[in-house]
Amino acid sequence: MSGELVLCHDCDLPNRLGEVPEGGAARCPRCNGLLYRRVPDSIDRTIAFATGGLLLFVVSNVFPFLSMEMQGNVTETTLATGVQALFRGERPLVAGLVLFTTILAPLLHLTMTLYVLLPLKQGRIAPASRRVFRLLHKIQNWSMMEVFLIGILVSLTKLVEMAAIIPGIALWAFMALIPIVAATTSSLDAHLVWSRIGGRS
């Protein structure tokens, strides 16, 4: 990576990358935009986070998320219950937006990361890796689990006066999944991956 010419993503200033130490980052001297971040063992670490994340993802979608007890009646929900209820309540657009940002985008993020990186670790390049990796970059921004967590907090304080709320296993898995997904993103050295899967000029 050292000595390569890169254009700043934010201000287009050409920079010659110097030696970046492990765990260090190079920033644009003009606008302070991030040019390159070097993560030690990037591919191994990212695979580890994404695999762990995928397991937590399954747990957080299969098991009960939140339950509510009111006058002896227990309502049990999963992560997707709200989406289903919105569809039935004739709000398909809102349902689709929530489905995409809290379930599909995180799932795609984790699986597409593994799709590109697992073969790469064995020195192979999966079919359509370049396309998948480009799409991965676009999808990351639409995964909003941490915002959903704040939404849970707000709705629970609204409900706590009228009912008992019982957090389920899926909620704990979901809370653990948030930093794991963030770590999957930050441990990935896109520059390194592009240099391996990219075509040659």
Binding site: L7, C8, L13, C31, M68, M70, V154, S155
Partner: protein, 206 residues
Amino acid sequence: MTAGTALAGCHECHLALRLPHLADGGVALCPRCGAPVHRRKVNSIARTWALLIAALVFYVPANLFPVMTVISLGKAQSDTIMSGVIYLLLHGMWPLAIVVFAASVVVPLAKLVALTYLLVSVQIGSRSRPADRTRIYRITEAVGRWSMVDIYVVTILVALVNLGNLATIEAGLGAVFFGAVVVLTMFAAESFDPRLIWDRAELNDV
């Protein structure tokens, strides 16, 4: 800087390359990642304006229509974005009220204002404080997602308050418009090209 030999950074994989001469309507593809390469995002200003204006238009019904309606014992009570914040305040939950107010009122408004300011400053050819304007852009891009909080609150309440005869909660039309505002402003921020800020500023150096 002639068009034929200009350095261009690929939007997708950030490879620096020299753009070849292109025939009219021709597109250069990045040799590394295969994405179409342009020196600047295509029609950045027009696209950002279009998405921004659409978001501004939707912002009005997003705040006027209720985001949810609670029907309990035959009585219906509707909440807009603002009345939801006031509810939290009146019930003494002011830390939460601040969070919701910031996410649902301040963030969308600040995004609309910031993008308008960035577009106008680029179009009148402003050369002042490009580094600060770039920072405004980065913040705008980063905070947009937090406006989704209200949509999620409605989703969770709709899921949980499913108590047969006691109460039902419906997502209102306001939620649809508000969701549209969040999505449109996220696309608007994505279509704005911060390098346009520097194109004018660079003329100082020449």
